[in-house]
């Protein structure tokens, strides 16, 4: 064979082989700052107990108190990734804890139960949080979270995609930065590309906003080797616990001689929806844990003090103390450190849920043609106006009417908009207050029948999910074929009567009437545990149409979990005013630190806020130029930053302390400002002179019962020489709809010392469901508002005032 012919085969093969070798190279991994922090935490002392989780694992548990309470002499360490769930926890455990050579005897997985079951890392932040903990690829995470094939081929495919994406992006970014660097960047010593990048990225973000990144690459590749399967989701109602990372966490710990304790973290009532699982899924998880012989402790129902919460997720100092005490007690009771097991509570699932009794007969319909409509008919329904679409929506029940209008072909589409009715024979109908309007399929009203949702009385509203009706004179019964494990059975029910008001709770033959409690009907029954098969039921009187909102059996929610609502309650209506200006600071030095004296803001220092809120969030900022601000602010980390040569600064007393290697100290004069975003962790600053206004989103499910109070949690910050014990913040809540829109207004006093206090503003006139509101906070002193809730008193508990 002639050389050119040989070369025609060999040369392209060499090209392809070279490319394959390059593509298969495992990309360099860079540990995140959180991973480095975790490594430091582990290195301080070889821990005997490691708590792994998200930020709640640090805010909720006092490690020193835990060790002291248990009489444990070895160190207790915490490794965490903020905002993370099981994928990052597994990464930390595999690579930071065991991969770092540590051999704790107990691993505590702390967090929300839903977070323990997640196998997703689909947001950039979650992905980064997980991958930032990995020094090497993780076979378990590759398979379960990233959907990458197992084995050499799967790993090659994953590496190839990453390397190709990185090359693509680097090439395009290089072209971009080289052009900008050559033509527009100021001369500098960082090199053409760095100079170009420092100009191009901010300019593109300013021009294009969030879509600034010209990323034409990406992880997935249109090639046959493998497509990235975006990991499957385990939602609160689907998936098998075996598919989660729970068994892998257990296996990993056991392989390194450690026992596992899963601790479900507490959440405030208003955030419980984030951690609500279907009973079947809970049962599956708990059965799995019990089969594997691991311990489970639930802190959800631990009694917490009034000021237990810093925000909608994290415990305050007093809350942490209570949670830690509860955990110590539970661990001690089960002898966990001695090898005992605290099994997960058994979940009792009903064998059947069915309706008992016949629903009432509905009045016959007499249809007349609708005027000016080609295919419309109407019929009065005077006795059922309370079940009309309008009435149910106004009462906060959503589109959940149990009425069904049907013809020979089946049910007509309910609740249709006007456009569908009357002009086309669309097979749709609408129930208004004054009657039924229908556009039947057959262009005639004969043969239409009105009935109730059958065979179950559960009507699903698209936004709210299932709505459990109990028809007049009937009962919905949950049947169990096994007795509960406890000596007594406690059942709690909350319901609302759409019409009438008589209802009863029956538990194993014991009947308890539902009593009015605010806007709802409520009953609790505690009965001796039955033997053998038994049932519980909610029954409605002959004139009562009932919707069961919540049914809880021995702490386990059977139905009516707070609907998942991720919509924020409030959103800023107008841009907040400019914060007060900060006078220029006096610059000095102290040891190896540069100091800026800010005596007027000593009361806002990190140490003050740590003492009162457990975390620093001084509003003072070193104003950053267009380049990203690399200055980390936390006074207590200054020593570490100094040792590591990382730039940072903290606010202690009336002084800002700046640490940086000499060549990275920003040149003066220093520009200081108050954070215009007013962020304080997940809380908010209210500065003196502020008037902040928000819209309250009335459609959120948290306001489905309307609102009768505002609860505000926070602290007032006053200068040390201010003698007042507290300061007041003015609150105004004004409805923006209605003939006479109600207004609630008042001054709430927050203490100037101690932790956050919870104060209430009751509304003289309750706001009906679905009322949009304007909320205004105005202050003449400085405050931190850690939590703000508006809603029905049934869902907001505990006010100091």
């Amino acid at each position: 064979m002639r050389p050119p012919t040989v070369a025609a085969v060999i040369l392209p093969l060499l090209v392809l082989l070279g490319a394959t070798a390059w593509l298969s190279t495992e990309p360099a991994r860079e540990l995140s700052a959180e991973a480095q922090t975790n490594d430091l935490a582990l290195a301080k002392a070889s821990p005997g107990i490691v708590i792994v989780g998200n930020s709640k694992s640090a805010s909720d548990i006092d490690r020193a108190a835990l060790a002291k309470g248990l009489g444990y002499e070895q160190a207790v360490a915490n490794v965490r990734v903020g905002g993370s769930s099981a994928p990052a926890w597994y990464a930390m455990l595999e690579q930071r804890v065991f991969g770092g050579g540590y051999t704790p005897e107990l691993v505590v997985v702390y967090g929300q139960l839903a977070a323990m079951l997640r196998v997703e890392a689909d947001s950039a932040a979650e992905r980064k949080g997980m991958e930032g903990q990995l020094s090497t690829p993780s076979a378990v995470l590759d398979a379960k979270v990233l959907g990458r094939g197992a084995g050499p081929f799967g790993r090659f495919a994953a590496s190839a995609r990453r390397n190709a994406s990185a090359a693509h992006d680097a090439l395009l970014a290089g072209v971009r930065d080289a052009a900008v660097g050559a033509l527009l960047a100021p001369p500098g010593g960082d090199g053409l590309l760095a100079a170009g990048r420092s100009v191009s990225e901010p300019a593109l973000e300013a021009t294009f906003g969030r879509t600034a990144r010209f990323r034409a690459g990406g992880e997935a590749r249109v090639v046959p080797v493998a497509e990235t399967r975006v990991s499957h989701a385990m939602t609160a109602s689907e998936g098998a616990p075996e598919d989660s990372l729970v068994p892998d966490l257990i296996t990993l710990a056991e392989a390194h001689g450690a026992r596992v304790l899963f601790v479900r973290a507490p959440l405030p009532m208003s955030s419980r929806y984030m951690d609500t699982l279907a009973p079947e899924l809970e049962k599956g998880v708990f059965d799995l844990m019990n089969r594997r012989g691991v311990s489970y402790i639930d802190l959800q129902d631990v009694p917490l003090p009034a000021d237990a919460w810093n925000d909608h997720l994290h415990l305050s100092g007093s809350g942490r103390r209570a949670a830690t005490d509860a955990l110590v007690a539970a661990m001690a009771a089960a002898n966990i450190l001695e090898g005992g097991v605290a099994p997960a509570r058994p979940v009792l699932l009903p064998t059947a849920v069915l309706r008992v009794g016949a629903p009432p007969a509905l009045p016959p319909l007499t249809f007349a043609p609708s005027p000016n409509r080609a295919c419309g008919f109407q019929a009065p329904l005077p006795d059922l106006a309370f079940l009309s679409n309008d009435a149910l929506l106004a009462a906060g029940f959503g589109r959940s009417s149990p009425l069904v209008l049907a013809d020979a072909a089946g049910p007509l589409t309910p609740g249709s908009l006007d456009r569908a009715l009357g002009d086309t024979c669309a097979g749709a109908w609408q129930h208004r207050r004054f009657g039924a309007f229908v556009a039947p399929r057959a262009a005639a009203a004969e043969g239409l029948t009105l009935g109730l949702a059958e065979p179950t009385s559960v009507v699903t509203d698209a936004k709210r999910g299932p709505v459990w009706w109990v028809y007049p004179g009937t009962a919905t019964e949950w049947r169990y074929d096994a007795p509960p494990g406890e000596a007594t059975v406690e059942v709690e029910v909350t319901a609302r009567a759409v019409h009438g008001g008589g209802a009863r709770l029956r538990v194993a033959g014991v009947e308890v009437p539902l009593e009015p409690r605010g806007r709802v009907l409520h009953a609790t029954a505690t009965v001796p545990a039955p033997t053998g098969a038994w049932a519980l039921a909610v029954a409605a009187d002959a004139d009562t149409w009932l919707v069961v909102d919540e049914l809880v059996l021995d702490g386990q929610r059977l139905l009516g979990a707070p609907p998942v609502s991720l919509a924020p309650l409030i959103r800023a209506a107008v841009a907040p005013p400019d914060p007060p200006t900060v006078p220029a600071a006096t610059v000095g030095t102290r040891d190896a630190l540069t100091t800026l004296d800010v005596p007027d803001y000593a009361h806002l220092a990190d140490d003050v806020l740590r003492a009162r809120l457990d975390y620093p969030c001084s509003p003072l900022q070193l104003a950053a130029e267009r380049a990203p601000d690399v200055w980390v602010k936390d006074a207590h980390l200054l020593a570490t930053m100094l040792a590591n040569g990382r730039p940072g600064y903290g606010h202690l007393g009336g002084t800002l302390l700046l640490s940086a290697p000499g060549d990275r100290m920003p040149e003066g004069p220093y520009r200081l400002r108050l954070d215009p975003r007013r962020k304080c962790g997940t809380s908010r600053w209210v500065y003196p002179g502020d008037t902040l206004t928000w819209d309250v989103v009335a459609s959120t499910d948290r306001l489905r019962l309307g609102a009768d109070r505002l609860v505000l949690t926070g602290i007032a910050l006053l200068p040390a020489d201010d003698p007042r014990p507290g300061a007041s913040i003015h609150v105004r809540v004004a409805a923006t709809q209605g003939a006479t829109p109600p207004v609630a207004e008042g001054d709430l006093v927050l203490p100037a010392t101690g932790g956050a206090a919870r104060v209430c503003l009751p509304f003289a006139t309750p706001f009906p469901p679905g009322t949009p509101m304007d909320l205004t906070l105005s202050a003449s002193d400085a405050f931190v508002v850690t939590q703000l809730s508006i809603g029905e008193s049934e869902h907001l508990a505990g006010c100091d005032q």
Binding site: R2, P4, T5, A7, A8, V9, L11, P12, L13, V15, L16, A19, L23, A160, A164, A167, H168, L171, L172, V175, R176, A178, A179, V180, L183, L184, V199, S200, P202, A203, L204, A206, T207, F208, T211, F214, A216, G217, G218, A220, R221, V222, V223, P224
Partner: protein
């Protein structure tokens, strides 16, 4: 299915192998008909019905023209009506209704006129024009009507050119459908080279510059420099995309022993509008010339007749590209250019025109006019077109100048392969083609292309631009 989907590679490999295994032309034709049906019906099988209906109308129309010479005009009218009816309904119905509703609203007439939401079948503009060309050629006596329905169907539905051209002349394809083919490895190699080059242009140039162009055009208030930089980017994108598609089509057809007509000849080196249309989408522009411009009188009836014919032909060309007024505006613009050059050219001394400097200036000027036209083509909102044209092309904030430079860098990066390709084609290949080392160089470049495909391909790959027509 489209050419840059992974399914197509597998599909074509199977078709190629089976095709050359079957030696008999009839069997090969049958295989291609089946393969074309699979290719075209991949996403929407019912699109095949329209395709076959259109083909059948003209097939039987051709026979009817021959059988009823006295009524051939009516037969032709019927076939054209059927084809234009299909095209009119699926492509222009909603456009028409929206404009009627707007007109009625403007007149204050209450109405409930609204779009029907008709789905546009891919390639309908191409195959209806192809079918109509057959009928017209038979009517004119330039082509004998075919009596082999399968060969005719193949000529219309051949998957290589079906979805986005080139708009083949019936005579060309029918002749090839009726001719035996033999496996020629040199032809296969040539076809593969052409297809790979086309894929490279599409995936590396067009798809890389596209998101930059899209981002700028998506802004509510871009600055003038950004708009023109993005339009320059679109200039690269549309050439790389469309010529890339054509090269893939021609390359794959060549590998099967078919030769499709060339569709692009360095259009941005044109010296005049008429030269541009001899280089850009050649199959379409020649169709317009032969079946519209000449029918409308062409240049035979004097200046005004020629102007009217040019205008009508270019307006229809514009409208063919899309059911939107900006395309009509674009067609009108090119009509204006053609007429304007016709008037202005005699005023320029011949010595200037034929000089090197004059040639370069002509190319530069025509390129500028072309880029301007692409703005009309890219922006579908006519009101916004005029707003963009009013922008000062030199006024921008510092951040916007940075964005402009970034866009221009992307243009340079993505245009470079096209320029290199042109230089290689002109100066390198003629020298290398006879060298023994041409083959290893070629296969090595192919391997490098494959690596580039993997690096540059996007999960959200941009559809071929001309698919929307």
């Amino acid at each position: 299915m489209n050419f840059i989907q992974i399914e197509f590679i597998a599909f074509f490999a199977v078709v190629f192998t089976a095709y050359w295994t079957l030696r008999e032309r009839r069997l090969q034709n049958a295989l291609l008909i089946v393969a074309s049906a699979i290719f075209y019906g991949w996403v929407h099988p019912w699109f095949l019905v329209l395709l076959y209906v259109s083909a059948a109308v003209d097939y039987f129309g051709g026979l009817g023209i021959e059988k009823y010479p006295r009524h051939k005009g009516w037969v032709l009218a019927a076939t054209l009506t059927a084809n234009l009816g299909l095209l009119g309904y699926y492509k222009y119905c909603d456009f028409f209704l929206v404009n009627v509703a707007a007109a009625l609203d403007a007149l204050g007439v209450a109405n409930s006129v609204g779009p029907l939401g008709v789905l546009l079948p891919a390639g309908i503009s191409f195959y209806t024009f192809q079918s109509m060309a057959y009928s017209i050629d038979v009517y004119r006596g330039e082509l004998k009507p075919r009596r082999n329905l399968l060969e005719y169907m193949l000529a219309v539905s051949f998957f290589c050119h079906l979805v986005a051209g080139p708009v083949q002349r019936a005579s060309n394809l029918l002749m090839q459908a009726e001719t035996d083919r033999r496996l020629d490895w040199a032809m296969v190699r040539s076809g593969l080279a052409l297809a790979l080059w086309g894929a490279f242009k599409k995936m590396v140039s067009a798809d890389t510059v596209a998101p930059y162009v899209d981002k700028i055009y998506a802004l509510d208030a871009p600055s003038g420099p950004m708009v023109w930089a993005a339009t320059l980017g679109f200039t690269v994108q549309i050439l790389a995309d469309f010529s890339g598609y054509t090269d893939i089509a021609r390359g794959t057809a060549r590998m099967l022993g078919w030769e499709l007509m060339e569709n692009f000849k360095n259009p941005y080196l044109a010296t005049s509008p008429s030269d541009f249309w001899r280089r850009w989408h050649i199959s379409f522009s020649t169709w317009i010339r032969d079946y519209l411009y000449i029918t409308f009188g062409g240049s035979r009836g004097g200046f005004w007749r020629a102007t009217l014919a040019t205008s009508a032909a270019m307006l229809i060309s514009g409208l063919w590209h899309g059911a939107s007024w900006n395309f009509v505006l674009w067609g009108a613009y090119h009509a204006l250019l053609l007429v304007g050059y016709r008037l202005a050219t005699p005023l320029i001394p011949t010595t200037v025109r034929k000089s090197t400097g004059g040639h370069v200036a002509a190319v530069g000027l025509m390129f500028g006019f072309t880029v301007f036209g692409w703005l009309l083509f890219r922006e579908t909102d006519v009101a916004r077109i005029f707003r963009l044209l009013h922008l000062n092309p030199f006024a921008a904030t510092p951040d916007e100048w940075v964005a402009t430079v970034v866009m221009l860098a992307a243009v340079a990066f993505t245009a470079a392969p096209l320029v290199i390709g042109l230089l290689v084609e002109r100066f390198v290949l003629p020298r290398l083609a006879t060298s023994a080392w041409y083959l290893p160089l070629q296969t090595t470049v192919w391997a490098a292309f494959v690596v580039c495909f993997y690096v540059f391909v996007r999960m959200d790959a941009v559809e071929f631009l001309y698919f929307q027509f």
